[in-house]
Protein backbone atom coordinates (compact mmCIF):
# COMPACT_ATOMS: atom_id res chain seq x y z
CA UNK A 1 0.00 0.00 0.00
CA UNK A 2 2.70 2.42 1.02
CA UNK A 3 4.71 1.80 -2.12
CA UNK A 4 1.69 1.86 -4.39
CA UNK A 5 0.89 5.47 -3.60
CA UNK A 6 4.03 7.20 -4.98
CA UNK A 7 3.94 4.98 -8.07
CA UNK A 8 0.31 5.85 -8.70
CA UNK A 9 1.02 9.51 -8.01
CA UNK A 10 3.76 9.59 -10.65
CA UNK A 11 1.59 7.73 -13.15
CA UNK A 12 -1.37 10.05 -12.56
CA UNK A 13 0.78 13.16 -12.85
CA UNK A 14 2.10 11.86 -16.18
CA UNK A 15 -1.42 11.07 -17.33
CA UNK A 16 -2.75 14.50 -16.37
CA UNK A 17 0.20 16.25 -18.06
CA UNK A 18 -0.40 14.17 -21.19
CA UNK A 19 -4.06 15.24 -21.08
CA UNK A 20 -3.00 18.88 -20.74
CA UNK A 21 -0.63 18.51 -23.67
CA UNK A 22 -3.35 16.97 -25.83
CA UNK A 23 -5.90 19.58 -24.82
CA UNK A 24 -3.60 22.56 -25.38
CA UNK A 25 -1.62 21.51 -28.46
CA UNK A 26 -3.02 18.45 -30.21
CA UNK A 27 -6.79 19.01 -30.25
CA UNK A 28 -7.95 21.03 -33.27
CA UNK A 29 -8.92 24.67 -32.67
CA UNK A 30 -12.63 25.27 -32.60
CA UNK A 31 -13.85 27.26 -35.60
CA UNK A 32 -16.00 29.94 -33.95
CA UNK A 33 -14.75 30.06 -30.38
CA UNK A 34 -11.06 29.68 -31.07
CA UNK A 35 -8.52 28.68 -28.44
CA UNK A 36 -10.75 29.60 -25.54
CA UNK A 37 -12.76 26.44 -26.23
CA UNK A 38 -9.79 24.39 -24.97
CA UNK A 39 -10.86 25.12 -21.41
CA UNK A 40 -13.62 22.60 -22.11
CA UNK A 41 -11.07 19.77 -21.80
CA UNK A 42 -10.50 20.72 -18.16
CA UNK A 43 -13.90 22.13 -17.28
CA UNK A 44 -16.11 19.15 -18.15
CA UNK A 45 -13.77 16.45 -16.76
CA UNK A 46 -13.59 18.37 -13.45
CA UNK A 47 -17.38 18.43 -13.36
CA UNK A 48 -17.53 14.71 -14.02
CA UNK A 49 -14.98 14.03 -11.25
CA UNK A 50 -16.85 16.26 -8.79
CA UNK A 51 -20.15 14.46 -9.45
CA UNK A 52 -18.46 11.07 -9.03
CA UNK A 53 -16.93 12.17 -5.73
CA UNK A 54 -20.28 13.46 -4.45
CA UNK A 55 -21.77 10.12 -5.36
CA UNK A 56 -19.00 8.36 -3.42
CA UNK A 57 -19.82 10.67 -0.52
CA UNK A 58 -23.48 9.59 -0.58
CA UNK A 59 -22.58 5.89 -0.69
CA UNK A 60 -20.07 6.30 2.14
CA UNK A 61 -22.59 8.25 4.23
CA UNK A 62 -25.29 5.61 3.83
CA UNK A 63 -22.72 2.91 4.59
CA UNK A 64 -21.74 4.76 7.75
CA UNK A 65 -25.35 5.09 8.95
CA UNK A 66 -25.98 1.39 8.33
CA UNK A 67 -22.69 -0.12 9.53
CA UNK A 68 -21.33 2.65 11.81
CA UNK A 69 -17.92 2.03 10.30
CA UNK A 70 -15.57 4.98 10.90
CA UNK A 71 -13.61 4.18 7.74
CA UNK A 72 -16.76 4.92 5.70
CA UNK A 73 -16.99 8.26 7.49
CA UNK A 74 -13.36 9.06 6.67
CA UNK A 75 -14.10 8.29 3.03
CA UNK A 76 -17.15 10.58 3.19
CA UNK A 77 -15.02 13.49 4.48
CA UNK A 78 -12.33 12.90 1.87
CA UNK A 79 -14.72 12.63 -1.07
CA UNK A 80 -16.75 15.69 -0.04
CA UNK A 81 -13.67 17.87 0.38
CA UNK A 82 -12.05 16.84 -2.88
CA UNK A 83 -15.44 17.02 -4.63
CA UNK A 84 -15.90 20.63 -3.50
CA UNK A 85 -12.45 21.47 -4.87
CA UNK A 86 -13.28 20.00 -8.28
CA UNK A 87 -16.69 21.66 -8.25
CA UNK A 88 -14.95 24.98 -7.53
CA UNK A 89 -12.71 24.37 -10.55
CA UNK A 90 -15.86 23.90 -12.65
CA UNK A 91 -17.42 27.10 -11.31
CA UNK A 92 -14.23 29.10 -11.94
CA UNK A 93 -13.37 27.78 -15.40
CA UNK A 94 -16.98 28.15 -16.59
CA UNK A 95 -17.13 31.96 -16.37
CA UNK A 96 -13.59 32.20 -17.84
CA UNK A 97 -14.97 30.50 -20.93
CA UNK A 98 -18.36 32.22 -20.86
CA UNK A 99 -17.02 35.78 -20.85
CA UNK A 100 -15.44 35.73 -24.34
CA UNK A 101 -18.02 33.35 -25.83
CA UNK A 102 -21.33 34.53 -24.38
CA UNK A 103 -20.17 38.03 -23.47
CA UNK A 104 -21.20 37.54 -19.84
CA UNK A 105 -19.49 35.91 -16.89
CA UNK A 106 -22.52 34.17 -15.52
CA UNK A 107 -26.05 33.32 -16.51
CA UNK A 108 -28.71 31.73 -14.33
CA UNK A 109 -29.02 28.81 -16.67
CA UNK A 110 -30.07 25.28 -15.66
CA UNK A 111 -26.65 23.67 -15.50
CA UNK A 112 -24.89 26.65 -13.95
CA UNK A 113 -27.49 27.20 -11.26
CA UNK A 114 -27.81 23.56 -10.30
CA UNK A 115 -24.02 23.17 -10.10
CA UNK A 116 -23.86 26.25 -7.88
CA UNK A 117 -26.60 24.90 -5.61
CA UNK A 118 -24.79 21.55 -5.44
CA UNK A 119 -21.63 23.39 -4.44
CA UNK A 120 -23.56 25.31 -1.75
CA UNK A 121 -25.00 22.09 -0.32
CA UNK A 122 -21.59 20.45 -0.02
CA UNK A 123 -19.99 23.57 1.41
CA UNK A 124 -22.67 23.56 4.11
CA UNK A 125 -21.80 19.88 4.67
CA UNK A 126 -18.16 20.80 5.21
CA UNK A 127 -19.14 23.69 7.49
CA UNK A 128 -21.19 21.31 9.60
CA UNK A 129 -18.19 19.03 9.92
CA UNK A 130 -16.00 21.97 10.83
CA UNK A 131 -18.36 23.33 13.47
CA UNK A 132 -19.05 20.04 15.23
CA UNK A 133 -15.97 18.66 16.78
CA UNK A 134 -17.10 15.61 18.63
CA UNK A 135 -18.24 12.03 18.34
CA UNK A 136 -21.60 13.02 16.88
CA UNK A 137 -20.12 14.61 13.75
CA UNK A 138 -20.21 11.44 11.57
CA UNK A 139 -23.92 10.82 12.19
CA UNK A 140 -24.95 14.45 11.62
CA UNK A 141 -22.81 14.72 8.50
CA UNK A 142 -24.10 11.44 7.07
CA UNK A 143 -27.69 12.57 7.60
CA UNK A 144 -26.99 15.90 5.92
CA UNK A 145 -25.36 14.12 2.97
CA UNK A 146 -28.54 12.09 2.47
CA UNK A 147 -30.65 15.26 2.63
CA UNK A 148 -28.36 16.90 0.08
CA UNK A 149 -28.66 13.94 -2.27
CA UNK A 150 -32.46 14.00 -1.99
CA UNK A 151 -32.38 17.70 -2.78
CA UNK A 152 -30.40 17.42 -6.01
CA UNK A 153 -33.19 16.07 -8.30
CA UNK A 154 -35.65 18.60 -6.86
CA UNK A 155 -33.22 21.44 -7.52
CA UNK A 156 -32.70 20.20 -11.05
CA UNK A 157 -36.41 19.92 -11.84
CA UNK A 158 -37.32 23.27 -10.31
CA UNK A 159 -34.62 25.12 -12.23
CA UNK A 160 -35.41 23.18 -15.40
CA UNK A 161 -39.04 24.31 -15.24
CA UNK A 162 -38.07 27.83 -14.23
CA UNK A 163 -35.75 28.18 -17.21
CA UNK A 164 -38.06 26.61 -19.77
CA UNK A 165 -40.62 29.20 -18.73
CA UNK A 166 -38.16 32.04 -19.20
CA UNK A 167 -35.94 30.95 -22.08
CA UNK A 168 -32.44 32.38 -22.23
CA UNK A 169 -30.72 33.14 -25.49
CA UNK A 170 -27.45 31.58 -24.42
CA UNK A 171 -25.92 28.10 -24.25
CA UNK A 172 -25.53 26.14 -27.44
CA UNK A 173 -26.68 22.65 -26.58
CA UNK A 174 -26.49 19.73 -28.99
CA UNK A 175 -24.07 19.94 -31.89
CA UNK A 176 -21.64 17.22 -32.79
CA UNK A 177 -18.09 16.94 -31.54
CA UNK A 178 -15.13 16.38 -33.83
CA UNK A 179 -13.85 12.81 -33.22
CA UNK A 180 -10.36 14.17 -32.44
CA UNK A 181 -11.85 16.53 -29.86
CA UNK A 182 -13.86 13.68 -28.39
CA UNK A 183 -10.70 11.59 -28.12
CA UNK A 184 -8.85 14.34 -26.21
CA UNK A 185 -11.90 14.94 -24.07
CA UNK A 186 -12.22 11.28 -23.07
CA UNK A 187 -8.52 11.04 -22.22
CA UNK A 188 -8.92 14.09 -20.02
CA UNK A 189 -11.98 12.59 -18.33
CA UNK A 190 -9.90 9.50 -17.47
CA UNK A 191 -6.95 11.60 -16.33
CA UNK A 192 -9.10 13.81 -14.10
CA UNK A 193 -10.90 10.80 -12.66
CA UNK A 194 -7.53 9.27 -11.75
CA UNK A 195 -6.41 12.57 -10.24
CA UNK A 196 -9.63 12.87 -8.22
CA UNK A 197 -9.35 9.28 -6.99
CA UNK A 198 -5.70 9.77 -6.07
CA UNK A 199 -6.27 12.99 -4.11
CA UNK A 200 -9.31 11.46 -2.45
CA UNK A 201 -7.27 8.44 -1.44
CA UNK A 202 -4.48 10.63 -0.06
CA UNK A 203 -7.00 12.69 1.90
CA UNK A 204 -8.63 9.49 3.17
CA UNK A 205 -5.31 8.20 4.48
CA UNK A 206 -4.50 11.54 6.10
CA UNK A 207 -7.93 11.51 7.75
CA UNK A 208 -7.38 8.00 9.12
CA UNK A 209 -3.95 8.95 10.47
CA UNK A 210 -5.35 12.14 11.95
CA UNK A 211 -7.97 10.11 13.80
CA UNK A 212 -5.40 7.63 15.05
CA UNK A 213 -3.31 10.48 16.44
CA UNK A 214 -6.36 12.05 18.07
CA UNK A 215 -7.36 8.74 19.60
CA UNK A 216 -3.84 8.23 20.94
CA UNK A 217 -3.89 11.71 22.46
CA UNK A 218 -7.28 11.11 24.04
CA UNK A 219 -6.14 7.78 25.45
CA UNK A 220 -2.95 9.31 26.77
CA UNK A 221 -4.71 12.11 28.58
CA UNK A 222 -7.25 9.64 29.90
CA UNK A 223 -4.71 7.24 31.37
CA UNK A 224 -2.19 9.97 32.17
CA UNK A 225 0.54 7.70 30.83
CA UNK A 226 4.13 8.91 31.04
CA UNK A 227 6.38 7.65 28.25
CA UNK A 228 8.75 5.17 29.90
CA UNK A 229 11.80 5.88 27.76
CA UNK A 230 11.84 9.56 28.62
CA UNK A 231 13.24 9.70 32.10
CA UNK A 232 13.28 13.48 32.12
CA UNK A 233 9.63 13.71 31.31
CA UNK A 234 9.00 11.33 34.15
CA UNK A 235 11.03 13.45 36.54
CA UNK A 236 9.25 16.57 35.41
CA UNK A 237 5.98 14.80 35.92
CA UNK A 238 6.97 13.79 39.42
CA UNK A 239 8.13 17.32 40.09
CA UNK A 240 4.79 18.69 39.04
CA UNK A 241 3.04 16.29 41.39
CA UNK A 242 5.03 17.36 44.41
Amino acid sequence: MKRAFPILAVLTTGFVLYGFYLGLFVAPTERTMGDVQRIFYFHAPSGWTAFCLFFVNLIASVAYLVRRNLKADALAVASAEVGVVFCTVVLVTGPLWARPVWGIWWTWDLRLTSTLVLWLIYVSYLMLRRLTNNAQTPVLAAVLAIFGALDVPLVYFSIWFFRTQHPQPVIGGGGSLDPRMLHVFLINVCAFSCLGALICWARYRVELMHREVEEAHALESLLDVVPKSEGEAKAAHRGSLQ
Partner: protein, 225 residues
Protein backbone atom coordinates in the same frame (compact mmCIF):
# COMPACT_ATOMS: atom_id res chain seq x y z
CA UNK B 1 -54.74 6.86 22.68
CA UNK B 2 -51.36 5.37 21.81
CA UNK B 3 -48.17 6.55 23.45
CA UNK B 4 -47.17 8.20 20.16
CA UNK B 5 -50.25 10.39 20.12
CA UNK B 6 -50.09 11.22 23.80
CA UNK B 7 -46.41 12.23 23.56
CA UNK B 8 -47.16 14.41 20.55
CA UNK B 9 -50.18 16.00 22.15
CA UNK B 10 -48.48 16.59 25.51
CA UNK B 11 -45.41 18.22 23.95
CA UNK B 12 -47.50 20.29 21.57
CA UNK B 13 -49.82 21.64 24.27
CA UNK B 14 -46.82 22.36 26.49
CA UNK B 15 -45.09 24.35 23.73
CA UNK B 16 -48.23 26.25 22.82
CA UNK B 17 -48.91 27.07 26.46
CA UNK B 18 -45.34 28.30 26.94
CA UNK B 19 -45.58 30.44 23.82
CA UNK B 20 -49.02 31.75 24.81
CA UNK B 21 -47.68 32.90 28.17
CA UNK B 22 -44.40 34.40 27.01
CA UNK B 23 -45.16 35.26 23.33
CA UNK B 24 -41.39 35.59 22.89
CA UNK B 25 -41.07 33.91 19.51
CA UNK B 26 -44.22 35.37 18.00
CA UNK B 27 -43.46 38.95 19.04
CA UNK B 28 -39.91 38.84 17.75
CA UNK B 29 -40.98 37.18 14.49
CA UNK B 30 -43.69 39.77 13.91
CA UNK B 31 -41.44 42.71 14.62
CA UNK B 32 -38.67 41.23 12.52
CA UNK B 33 -40.86 40.73 9.45
CA UNK B 34 -42.34 44.19 9.89
CA UNK B 35 -38.81 45.58 9.77
CA UNK B 36 -38.13 43.58 6.60
CA UNK B 37 -41.28 45.03 4.97
CA UNK B 38 -40.22 48.57 5.80
CA UNK B 39 -36.57 48.19 4.83
CA UNK B 40 -37.33 46.48 1.52
CA UNK B 41 -39.74 49.26 0.57
CA UNK B 42 -36.75 51.60 0.21
CA UNK B 43 -35.11 49.42 -2.45
CA UNK B 44 -37.88 49.79 -5.05
CA UNK B 45 -41.14 51.61 -5.60
CA UNK B 46 -43.52 49.43 -3.59
CA UNK B 47 -46.79 50.64 -5.08
CA UNK B 48 -45.72 50.42 -8.73
CA UNK B 49 -47.46 47.83 -10.87
CA UNK B 50 -44.13 46.09 -11.64
CA UNK B 51 -43.41 45.47 -7.97
CA UNK B 52 -45.92 42.62 -8.27
CA UNK B 53 -43.06 40.60 -9.78
CA UNK B 54 -40.79 41.12 -6.78
CA UNK B 55 -43.17 40.93 -3.85
CA UNK B 56 -43.56 37.14 -4.01
CA UNK B 57 -39.88 36.73 -3.28
CA UNK B 58 -39.92 39.42 -0.63
CA UNK B 59 -42.80 37.92 1.33
CA UNK B 60 -41.18 34.51 1.53
CA UNK B 61 -37.75 35.86 2.37
CA UNK B 62 -39.33 37.81 5.24
CA UNK B 63 -41.16 34.70 6.48
CA UNK B 64 -38.09 32.52 6.10
CA UNK B 65 -35.88 34.86 8.11
CA UNK B 66 -38.56 35.32 10.74
CA UNK B 67 -39.12 31.55 10.99
CA UNK B 68 -35.46 31.10 11.88
CA UNK B 69 -36.21 32.93 15.14
CA UNK B 70 -38.86 30.39 16.14
CA UNK B 71 -36.83 27.43 14.88
CA UNK B 72 -33.73 28.38 16.81
CA UNK B 73 -35.50 28.37 20.14
CA UNK B 74 -37.44 25.14 19.50
CA UNK B 75 -34.88 22.81 21.00
CA UNK B 76 -32.92 25.28 23.09
CA UNK B 77 -35.78 25.17 25.60
CA UNK B 78 -35.39 21.40 26.01
CA UNK B 79 -31.70 21.69 26.83
CA UNK B 80 -32.42 23.40 30.13
CA UNK B 81 -32.70 20.93 33.01
CA UNK B 82 -31.55 18.15 30.64
CA UNK B 83 -35.05 17.59 29.26
CA UNK B 84 -33.65 16.28 25.99
CA UNK B 85 -31.45 13.77 27.81
CA UNK B 86 -34.51 12.55 29.64
CA UNK B 87 -36.28 12.08 26.30
CA UNK B 88 -33.31 10.16 25.05
CA UNK B 89 -33.32 7.60 27.85
CA UNK B 90 -37.10 7.29 27.99
CA UNK B 91 -38.80 4.64 25.79
CA UNK B 92 -41.04 7.37 24.27
CA UNK B 93 -41.10 7.32 20.46
CA UNK B 94 -38.66 9.94 19.13
CA UNK B 95 -40.88 10.81 16.20
CA UNK B 96 -43.71 11.80 18.50
CA UNK B 97 -41.49 14.50 19.92
CA UNK B 98 -40.34 15.56 16.47
CA UNK B 99 -43.88 15.75 15.10
CA UNK B 100 -45.01 17.84 18.08
CA UNK B 101 -42.18 20.31 17.51
CA UNK B 102 -42.95 20.54 13.80
CA UNK B 103 -46.65 21.11 14.45
CA UNK B 104 -45.85 23.73 17.06
CA UNK B 105 -43.58 25.64 14.72
CA UNK B 106 -46.10 25.25 11.91
CA UNK B 107 -48.76 26.90 14.07
CA UNK B 108 -46.44 29.76 15.13
CA UNK B 109 -45.31 30.51 11.58
CA UNK B 110 -48.89 30.24 10.27
CA UNK B 111 -50.06 32.76 12.85
CA UNK B 112 -47.22 35.04 11.77
CA UNK B 113 -48.24 34.71 8.13
CA UNK B 114 -51.90 35.34 8.90
CA UNK B 115 -51.00 38.54 10.77
CA UNK B 116 -48.41 39.77 8.26
CA UNK B 117 -50.32 39.16 5.03
CA UNK B 118 -52.78 42.08 5.56
CA UNK B 119 -49.77 44.35 6.19
CA UNK B 120 -48.14 43.23 2.95
CA UNK B 121 -51.39 43.86 1.09
CA UNK B 122 -51.66 47.37 2.52
CA UNK B 123 -48.02 48.40 2.19
CA UNK B 124 -47.39 46.95 -1.25
CA UNK B 125 -50.79 47.62 -2.77
CA UNK B 126 -51.28 43.94 -3.62
CA UNK B 127 -54.14 42.40 -5.53
CA UNK B 128 -54.03 38.90 -6.99
CA UNK B 129 -54.66 38.85 -10.73
CA UNK B 130 -54.61 35.04 -10.78
CA UNK B 131 -56.70 32.55 -8.77
CA UNK B 132 -56.25 33.84 -5.21
CA UNK B 133 -57.58 30.68 -3.50
CA UNK B 134 -54.41 28.88 -4.61
CA UNK B 135 -52.49 31.00 -2.12
CA UNK B 136 -53.97 28.95 0.73
CA UNK B 137 -52.63 25.49 -0.29
CA UNK B 138 -49.45 27.25 -1.31
CA UNK B 139 -49.03 28.84 2.12
CA UNK B 140 -49.72 25.54 3.88
CA UNK B 141 -47.28 23.54 1.75
CA UNK B 142 -44.62 26.25 1.80
CA UNK B 143 -44.78 26.73 5.55
CA UNK B 144 -44.61 22.98 6.10
CA UNK B 145 -41.56 22.77 3.80
CA UNK B 146 -39.73 25.43 5.83
CA UNK B 147 -40.78 24.13 9.21
CA UNK B 148 -40.22 20.39 8.80
CA UNK B 149 -36.63 20.75 7.60
CA UNK B 150 -36.05 23.72 9.88
CA UNK B 151 -37.05 21.76 12.98
CA UNK B 152 -34.88 18.86 11.89
CA UNK B 153 -31.82 21.01 11.20
CA UNK B 154 -32.36 22.90 14.45
CA UNK B 155 -32.06 19.57 16.25
CA UNK B 156 -28.89 18.91 14.27
CA UNK B 157 -27.36 22.29 14.96
CA UNK B 158 -27.90 21.79 18.71
CA UNK B 159 -24.77 19.70 18.63
CA UNK B 160 -22.65 22.31 16.93
CA UNK B 161 -20.53 25.00 18.51
CA UNK B 162 -22.40 28.08 17.30
CA UNK B 163 -25.87 26.74 16.83
CA UNK B 164 -27.67 29.97 15.96
CA UNK B 165 -25.35 30.50 12.99
CA UNK B 166 -25.44 26.89 11.90
CA UNK B 167 -29.19 26.58 11.36
CA UNK B 168 -29.52 28.96 8.38
CA UNK B 169 -26.29 27.60 6.90
CA UNK B 170 -27.80 24.11 6.83
CA UNK B 171 -31.38 25.07 6.07
CA UNK B 172 -31.03 27.56 3.21
CA UNK B 173 -29.12 25.43 0.67
CA UNK B 174 -31.46 22.47 1.13
CA UNK B 175 -34.52 24.75 0.95
CA UNK B 176 -33.61 26.28 -2.40
CA UNK B 177 -36.09 24.22 -4.50
CA UNK B 178 -38.87 24.82 -1.95
CA UNK B 179 -38.16 28.55 -1.84
CA UNK B 180 -38.11 28.68 -5.59
CA UNK B 181 -41.48 26.93 -5.65
CA UNK B 182 -43.02 29.32 -3.11
CA UNK B 183 -41.66 32.45 -4.77
CA UNK B 184 -42.53 31.42 -8.32
CA UNK B 185 -46.01 30.24 -7.38
CA UNK B 186 -46.76 33.44 -5.46
CA UNK B 187 -45.53 35.55 -8.37
CA UNK B 188 -47.59 33.47 -10.81
CA UNK B 189 -50.74 33.96 -8.73
CA UNK B 190 -50.15 37.68 -8.11
CA UNK B 191 -49.39 38.50 -11.73
CA UNK B 192 -51.84 36.00 -13.23
CA UNK B 193 -49.40 35.50 -16.09
CA UNK B 194 -48.97 31.75 -15.80
CA UNK B 195 -50.19 28.76 -13.84
CA UNK B 196 -48.85 28.01 -10.37
CA UNK B 197 -49.78 24.34 -10.64
CA UNK B 198 -46.29 22.97 -11.36
CA UNK B 199 -44.83 24.80 -8.37
CA UNK B 200 -47.54 23.57 -6.02
CA UNK B 201 -46.91 19.99 -7.17
CA UNK B 202 -43.17 20.54 -6.71
CA UNK B 203 -43.76 21.81 -3.16
CA UNK B 204 -45.97 18.82 -2.42
CA UNK B 205 -43.22 16.48 -3.66
CA UNK B 206 -40.63 18.34 -1.60
CA UNK B 207 -42.83 18.08 1.50
CA UNK B 208 -43.46 14.36 1.06
CA UNK B 209 -39.79 13.55 0.35
CA UNK B 210 -38.35 15.53 3.22
CA UNK B 211 -41.04 14.70 5.78
CA UNK B 212 -40.31 11.03 5.10
CA UNK B 213 -36.56 11.62 5.35
CA UNK B 214 -36.92 13.59 8.61
CA UNK B 215 -39.16 10.98 10.22
CA UNK B 216 -36.83 8.18 9.12
CA UNK B 217 -33.65 9.87 10.33
CA UNK B 218 -34.74 11.82 13.42
CA UNK B 219 -34.04 8.94 15.75
CA UNK B 220 -30.44 8.78 14.49
CA UNK B 221 -30.06 12.50 15.26
CA UNK B 222 -31.64 12.31 18.70
CA UNK B 223 -29.48 9.37 19.73
CA UNK B 224 -26.29 10.56 18.04
CA UNK B 225 -23.54 9.96 20.55
Amino acid sequence: MTSFQSITLATLTKDIRLEWRSKDALNSMLFFSLLVVVIFSFSFDPVAEESRHIVGGLIWVAFLFAAIVALNQTWARELRNQVLDAYRVSPAPANGLFLAKVLGNFIFVSVLEALMTPLFIVFYNLRALGPAWQLIPLAILGTWALVVNGTFFAAMSLRTRSREIMLPLLLFPISIPALMGMVQATTAILTGENSARFWIVLLLTYDVVFTTACVALFEAILHAE
